[in-house]
Amino acid sequence: MKKRLLAAAAMLAAATALVACSPGGGGGASTASGSGASNCTNTISKKNLPVVTMWGWYPNMQLVVDNFNKQNNEVQVCWTNVGQGSDEYDKFQTAISAGTGAPDVIMIEMDRIPTFQIQNALVDIKKYGFDAVKADYSEGAWKDVSVGDAVYGVPVDGGPMAMIYRKDIFEKYDITPPKTWAEYEQAAQKMKDAGGPPFGDFAANVSALTMALQIQKGAAPFTYDPAQQGSIGVKLNDQASKEVLDYWGRLAKNGLVGTQDQFTPEYISGVINGKYATYISAAWAPGYLTGAGVGKGEDTGKFAVAPLPQWDPGNPVQVNWGGSAFSVTSQAKNPELAAKVAYGLYADEESLTHGWTNQVIFPLNLKAINDPEFVNLKVAFFDGQQANKEVYVPAANAYKGVTYSPFGQYYFDAMTKQVSALIEGSVTGAQAADRLQADVANYAKEQGFTVQ
């Protein structure tokens, strides 16, 4: 008996050890790359200056950092790429929990700012020279990086939304770009009746897109201000949210749009092969698609872009998907110096121009947006169409900003679950919205919020 118990105890130890060790993979690298300035990806030539560490994943980050270091005689940037999006956030999260290992400045998507802000992981940079650059960005951009009255990031790139479409497919089925969502559905039906491909895609894994489309119809998912001690408004099942889910659920059910997860090889190959007539997406999409191999082979010059369809053409609403900022972390040894980096990095003309000419970013810096060269650019991906002038710049200028929640990851995961059920057909759009509301409100309560 004793021997058996011993064996059992050993088994438990082994079992829990394995359980405990498998999730460990995410954290390890952060401390090594984050805290010290010893392993920068870039080379710092001005060795005697103080160094600010930063994480970021812009494709042209190396050039941006070199430009900054060359022009600056006060501080140097030590940059590391620790992964894109959630890979980086998981590492940052681990560093926050550990209390050490975070960089001084970090690139994060704007919808994540409240998530880190509520953990006191970010520094309000309003007192470090905000007034000097205030005029460089639109009000919508500033709203996206603010929580309450405080500013937790410097906007870099945005994602004003539009409808990318295949000219060849539209011509073949005699369709003009729809201006409203009602027209979008009619055009989709027309294309299906003529035996054409799906008109678009409704994916479960792009919650930020679904949220933007709901906001376009008038939804305001969250009201949140840290000044109001622990109180948050969660409204995920209002009429607008329900109608948008019902709309896309209906399109998917009728076979008018595909339901393929986006950002997957499957989806990209579909876009390349003309499997989708439209791609509802943001201004970074052409760059992303080009990088993924779209518009280079047979489908060269077949794409065009039109403004995002509207619910009410008399009262158009522009929305945003994605976009990121530089934030100063509360682990920064010298927040003032770090803020200088956050304000100055990717704000010089050379970097911005390189960014937009190579379609790496859609700049939010007004110096770039108002640059005639940028506005009049004939975008190669769109076969020479002046996409910025016709579509993206007006969309960016009309964007009002959004209040994001301090538990964005949970909200997006919960949304994915419901949209997945909606696509399967086990719930209606309205039911999905109700369940999402219950789920997220419950989580908010569990986390100690008063939900309104």
Partner: protein
């Protein structure tokens, strides 16, 4: 006098023995030391810390508080954890017997025939195990793909639509296939090695008694490798209950189908690293550890007569 001296010599020999034993003790500890330190630092200490963490609750508003076993109460009433646990249990019930039957059949075949293809086949069957799980999962993700995979073409030949193994209806079988592909070869090698260890004279004796190939396999070979079978059963049970890598990788291809709470281990990962809730993540890990312990212990208890490896 004699009466008096006897105990004294006894004491002396005891003292000498004690010294020798002490020296042996010290030597023993010195040998165990390096392992012991690593064991304590990298296994016991993290476990203890995770256990400690699991007794607290951290809220976004209100901070951290000691809640004793509340996290465990929550875990065992949390639909996400329970459905994940139920999934891995069902998955074990289907995939483990399948893997073992496949492995056993292959081992018996390779053991029974003698030809130069045996070595080659053995290597080929074992090969999937040598491929890292992550790469294996990515590869299967592409094989299941509607536009890249062969399924569409194969089914197209018969005018049928290919099943989508990444859809929520079929993901279970898709994963059973990946796991069986990866592990059956490994288990086959263990069983094959055990089969090679059997004394061949037993087969001769059996044949003299009139036993055929089937009877040799069923009556002699399988009973004699029962302990190896049990070993791989326990390994696969522990491994499957902690299912993580394959679904986590396939998630990037099918996020709608595979949620972050798909298996308990994935749920623990999400809680700890995405939602900053290390406390609840630790509690889930320990709750899963408890389930694994109960499962394995029950299994060992019911098969205790045949056990020889623990």
């Amino acid at each position: 006098m004699i009466k008096k001296s006897a105990p004294r010599t006894q004491v002396r020999t005891q003292k000498i023995r004690g010294k020798v034993r002490l020296r042996e003790h010290v030597m023993g500890w010195l040998f165990v030391g390096p392992f012991g330190i690593v064991f304590l630092a990298f296994l016991i200490a993290p476990l203890a810390y995770a256990l400690y963490l699991s007794l607290f609750q951290k809220k976004l508003i209100g901070g951290t508080s000691f809640v004793f076993l509340d996290n465990y109460v929550k875990a065992f009433t949390d639909p996400s954890f329970l459905s994940g646990a139920w999934f891995v249990i069902r998955f074990s019930l289907v995939s483990i017997p399948l893997q073992i039957i496949v492995a056993l059949a292959m081992a018996l075949i390779l053991d029974a025939i003698t030809s130069r293809f045996v070595r080659f086949s053995r290597l080929m069957i074992f090969l999937p195990y040598a491929i890292p799980t992550v790469i294996g999962a990515v590869m299967w993700g592409f094989l299941y793909s509607k536009s890249f995979g062969p399924l569409t073409d194969i089914f197209g030949l018969f005018g049928a639509t290919a099943p989508d193994f990444l859809s929520s209806n079929l993901i279970f079988y898709g994963l059973v296939n990946v796991v069986t592909w990866q592990w059956a070869g490994y288990y086959m090698i263990i069983l094959y090695a055990a089969l090679q260890g059997i004394d061949p004279t037993l087969y001769e004796a059996a044949r003299m008694d009139g036993a055929g190939a089937w009877q040799v396999a069923l009556r002699i070979k399988i009973p004699l490798i029962a302990s190896a079978l049990l070993l791989i059963l326990v390994f696969s049970l522990i491994g499957t209950l902690q299912f993580f890598n394959e679904p986590q990788i396939l998630r990037s291809l099918a996020a709608g189908t595979i949620g972050p709470d798909f298996t308990p281990n994935m749920y623990a990962y999400q809680q700890a690293f995405s939602l900053a809730n290390f406390n609840y993540g630790s509690a889930i890990s320990f709750a899963l550890g408890g389930i694994v312990f109960v499962g394995v212990y029950a299994f060992l208890f019911f098969t205790r007569k045949r056990r020889s490896f623990l």
